[in-house]
Amino acid sequence: MFPELNNLLNTAPDRAEQGKLTLLCDAKTDGSFLVHHFLSFYLKANCKVCFVALVQSFSHYNIVGRKLGVSLTAARECGQLVFLEGLKSSVDVFFRAQAEPHPLQFLREANVGNLQPLYEFVREALKPMEDGQAAWRYPVLLVDDLSVLLSLGLGAVAVLDFMHYCRVAVCWEQKGNIVALVHDSGDAEDEENDILLNGLSHQSHLILRAEGLATGFCRDVHGQLRILWRTPSQPAAQRDRSLTYQYKIQDKSVSFFAKGMSPAVL
């Protein structure tokens, strides 16, 4: 996790809010550093994490996680982390018929499917332990990323349904958190993606939006981060709080600074 981002969000592993949906979105840049941040944040906060990693392999997150101070292999072995490696499982489910429903069953289906098997997987992974003793603080679902589900043949409505079911199961029933990444296609006229992004934006409590600079690539300022705090259930008359920072990604951390205050320019 990045200590500077924790300061900006005014949170820490031991006093994070519960029952929240955080939406990560990136436009014209890569927002995966935010996924790494939240993964290490919740592992350090002693939460049970279910990570649906659809775009990269386990070793990628593991190596970056080690730079940020968490060991995914250890977390997986002691049961703190349930890792669904989308790429590896997709090969299994695509080439061999599975006996029981697989979380990525929709890859085999000819028609537009739904994400019910994936939801069952998440619910099973994050269900509270029967013996009553709480080994972990609260469950967290992390999804990287939701836009790729649209590329795999699912409709925006199916993905929104999945997120809704997960919110009920994780945020409302168990007072856990959900963090999901959606790409913003910008002017590429991807209607399904826009529906998904808008739908989730209205349901989320915190939106972190990483944008590339409007002027193009710069070696010292990699992009701009917009933080928006929302209260979905309150009437719209209440103003949402929003902040904008620029950032530069380094090898093991990300440094944030106010707009125009990059150390390179000062």
């Binding site: 890569d30 550093f33 890859l107 790729v148």
Partner: protein, 406 residues
Amino acid sequence: MAAAADCGTGAASTGSIGAAACKNVTSFQRKGPRASGTDSGCSRLVSIAGTRPSVRNGQLLVSTGLPALDQLLGGGLAVGTVLLIEEDKYNTYSSLLFKFFLAEGILNGHTLLVASAKEDPADILQELPAPLLDDNCKKDFDEDVCNHKTPDSNIKMKIAWRYQLLPKMESGPVSSSRFGHYYDASKRMPQELIEESKWHGFFFPEKLSSTLTIEPCSLTGGYRKLLQFIQNVIYEEGFDGSNPQKKQKNILRIGIQNLGSPLWGDDICCTENCDNSHSLTKFLYVLRGLLRTSLSACIITMPTHLIQNKAVITRVTNLSDTVVGLESFIGSERETNPLYKDYHGLIHIRQIPQLNNLIYDVSDVKDLAFKLKRKLFTIENTGLQYRVSSHQKLSHRRTEKPLFIK
């Protein structure tokens, strides 16, 4: 990337096993003596011909067949990733890059898998360019390049001293490197080299009639059969380490030509709202899964200029690792533009993967142009450059065909 660790070594990659204490005590333990900077298992694989570990994150890299492109991509193409080439309008230069990739595989002794719906793979292999050997190239280069004698010479420039700070592009052969070779596009690769090599071909028109027991899924027939073929080769030859009989320590180079064109049975290039618009993206996703779990690297050329649905191009870019776009000047108004009079086209590095790394990787140099000079394909720097760096003030200058970058 530790595709190496995933193949066949199973739990051996977890050198830091601390199952008991995962709450408050970090369980990192120093791994045994292994190659520094690389993940476990890579030390065994550094011995594969034609590969080298990346200096930045220890990933295993292979050459794309074009040393200038290797340099732009940060050393080479990572094993387990896809290089997507967005074809130029008449597919002249992208097919050349495709052939360079395959020729590099033959020179390094890698196994090839060539898939095409247009040409028979055997014919494609006959047309591969011949490698330039070191003793021939010296006299070819003397007339072209006036001041490229030693690439590392630090000649102090008195007048154009600002240019000294710009990165030099490699356009001459590096004689002692076994990673990345130069090719002569006007000659053919010697027949004996092709015959010695191991290759598998997938020619879609031949496979049309074969009946596979496929369950219905939303992939079009061509893509489904190609995936099955690739998976068979990977499994049978042991590139993913799951076959107990085969212990493979070689790289599989996969080349897929004109993916997405109507010849594959896909109508994504024909209409804007096609029925099976997810076919191509699903194919790319499953292909990525296959590559990440095996010792292979893939090059795909795709006629993206024909795809009318911009959303599909964005999705395809997101599902590929490295994306390079070629734009040739043939038939466009840039052909007569004096700025581009020496070049044949522009090359855009649209995306570089960010694997095992937090750092946001974007190609440093933006305006790149290529040309096919009698025999060699070279990439050069052209156009305006804006630089802001932490020890320099904001500066911009125009570089017009800097002669020293050769």
